[in-house]
Symmetry: C2
Subunit: 423 residues, 2 copies
């Protein structure tokens, strides 16, 4: 009887859930694969913290190396913090050619290329289906639903926290800050919400999805996001008046010549687009495949249970393939282009003193910079200032900077600039 | 080297596509499974029709029995017509314990219980993943995405034709008939569209999905649908004024004690529900799982390519399991209940001569039958008749009949009755 010791790096909510799944499936693994699987050591930062898993105290250690040395397969459940340390543990496992199952998307997003390169050199197994999708098993869906076809484009709402905040703003009239506070109270946002709010969490997911769906590696150092917090409730209202909604979108596309185009940030989207009705903590991802056309997947974006369950599936896959080398992902692709490929139009909200000639002034600035105004709506006066909403054609960021600068010199406040997503 | 002859019943668009997939994957099957797979005989109604598959004339036959006798595995690609003959062929295959891959959902919906029972008795293999989903590989998604959890409820738009028609009515102002004509011109509706329009196609899919998702067999003889054609464009407009859309919905739920509740027909759905934004020939199905919560899948609802591809996957599964007996579906469940489980409210549109006392008359009829009116909207007069829209609580069909009868006696025309879907 073959024996396999599974080591755990981390025993938080995901690690504990995974330990329980492993324990309750021992019999099944024995019957199906003739393998006696057991949990070996588990690395924890605090030995005396109460755990939700049935693991004897003797198996806990605060020395990660003990886990690496003791185990045949290592499951990384380290969560979001200590990214570099997590990467180092994973690298050491690979160097020892011990299969690794990962859950940290940030580690893949930051160090994925090095990790995968090392796996290919060492011919060691690595799986990270659990790094993306939460309640929606996206990695599995990609493998099962797009067999033999190319995914060229994707649009999605990938961050549950920001979507919850936007939904509360839109539907309950909360300010961004009020909505964030509410999300924190409900556990949809962390105490330090910056990774979610600033779009990094969504960006990590884009990078992992680019690997799974497009077999492309893109370099996070060349990427940036637009913070989701730049939106005011009044923008939501004005967008609605135009037949649009503002959503925290991630859009990415693999073009010819290994060009990868993306955008992560707030976007105006037609109110009758399917993503416009995805609210609260729900996520959606719509892929465009060469044969299937558009295929969309919708579900709750987070949860320790689905993550642990995805890790367990990865573990079983490693058992089934009898430790064979297997890594067909990855196709170097690090050219990143302008997001204007997705959009023809920009929404601007500026405010200006309510004096004669104010609209002429604004329109002149756009005209001088060869920007076409498609629509102007003068809104109500608040404290002597007028909100003016303009829709223009999409322009390069250098032109945006020029216009913004000129507005500043003329006492026009530029409050919001958001692109439209044209599907 | 093991040899496998695959026989084809039918060589229409799906059969031809499948033949091509089989031919182009011979090498792969040889390498992976050590099996020499080849297409044996193919049953066609017309020997001399031009086919889109590279199959020598000598392999064609207009005698289905030749296919059954000659083949090791049989693929049924008979399409919608000749349901009873198709069933007979399938039954004969099973009696010979030859594995069958099916594509006809109607045959499963009508005769599934007998077919499955026979498979269990004969310990013969049967697969029918291709019977449902079109572009969305629903059977695979259910197997992969809901491992070890119960699906209790589902709501979806399962018929592309009716959804295309409703979208054209809503967005382009076409009448039902105009929209149907347009759908036929574009190939989204058949020359005889009755199976789609009357909801039978969606009902067959409900029955197959109940098998896959809920492991339940429900008897079509105890079921009925509401025709999608009962909707007028003015209903769409009134629904929109109320913040709703009218959609061709299929809703089903497995309750305790093997009770299966369902409804197939037009429904009012909140305009911010995800299904409300699923338009044209797109389908959606949102399942509710015990662990995952709501998981939705969205894509184009039809296509010979995805169907053939699903059949090929089934074929490979049969090869992989080395002809083992495998049929864990099916859990007798044929009690069907009132759809009022999904709805608290009904939409009524009646019209009446524009005379004094007309509203009192209408309201009295409802009051007399103990039906609560939640909202009344008197619409414009057209040719001396007033449209009146009422929202009431949901009532039993016998009460609906009573009210309708009484309205008739009082010269009130009942134009439309549609339930709201309360998610």
């Amino acid at each position: 009887m073959k024996k396999i010791k599974v080591g755990l790096l981390g025993l938080g909510v995901v690690g504990a859930e995974l330990a329980n799944i492993i324990n309750s499936n021992k019999e099944d693994i024995m019957q199906k694969y003739g393998i006696e699987m057991e949990i070996g050591k588990a690395y924890v930062r605090d030995l005396h913290k109460k755990r939700n898993a049935d693991i004897p105290f003797s198996k806990l250690t605060d020395n990660a190396n003990e886990v690496l040395n003791d185990s045949d397969i290592i499951c990384e459940c380290m969560g979001g913090s200590g990214t570099e340390a997590t990467k180092d543990y994973v690298v050491r496992c690979i160097e020892m050619t011990k299969p690794v199952i990962m859950s940290s998307k940030k580690v893949i997003a930051l160090y994925g290329k090095d990790i995968i390169d090392l796996c290919m050199t060492k011919k060691s197994q690595l799986r990270f289906d659990a790094t993306v999708g939460g309640g929606i098993p996206i990695a599995k869906v990609i493998k099962e639903c797009f067999k033999g076809e190319k995914i060229t484009k994707a649009v999605g709402i990938l961050n549950a926290t920001s979507n919850y905040i936007y939904s509360s703003m839109e539907r309950k009239g909360y300010s961004f800050e009020q909505a964030l506070k509410k999300a924190q109270d409900l556990g949809y946002a962390e105490n330090d919400p910056s990774e979610d709010i600033n779009g990094f969490d969504a960006l990590y997911k884009v990078i992992v999805l680019a690997l799974f769906a497009m077999k492309s590696w893109v370099n996070i150092k060349e990427m940036s996001t637009k913070s989701f917090s730049s939106i005011d409730i009044v923008d939501m209202k004005y967008a609605q008046d135009l037949g649009y909604k503002i959503k925290p979108l991630a859009i990415f596309q693999k073009k010819k010549d290994k060009k990868f185009v993306y955008r992560v940030g707030p976007c105006l989207i037609a109110e009758n687009h399917i993503a416009a009705n995805v609210i609260n903590n729900f996520n959606i991802i719509v892929f465009e495949g060469s044969n299937s056309g558009k295929l969309g997947f919708y579900g709750q974006g987070a949860g320790s249970k689905p993550t642990a369950s995805a890790m367990y599936d990865d573990l079983v896959s490693v058992l089934k393939t009898s430790f064979d080398y297997e890594m067909d992902l990855y196709d170097g692709c690090d050219v990143i282009h302008d997001y204007r490929d997705f959009t023809n139009s920009l929404y601007w909200r500026v405010s200006v003193d309510n004096i004669i000639g104010k609209l002429a002034l604004i329109c002149n600035v756009f005209a001088k910079n060869s920007v076409n105004i498609e629509k102007v709506i003068q809104k109500d006066e608040v404290n002597g200032k007028m909100d003016v909403v303009l829709l223009t054609n999409s322009v390069e960021s250098t032109v945006i900077d020029l216009i913004t600068h000129e507005f500043e010199n003329n006492k026009v406040d530029v409050n919001t600039i958001i692109p439209f997503f044209n599907d």
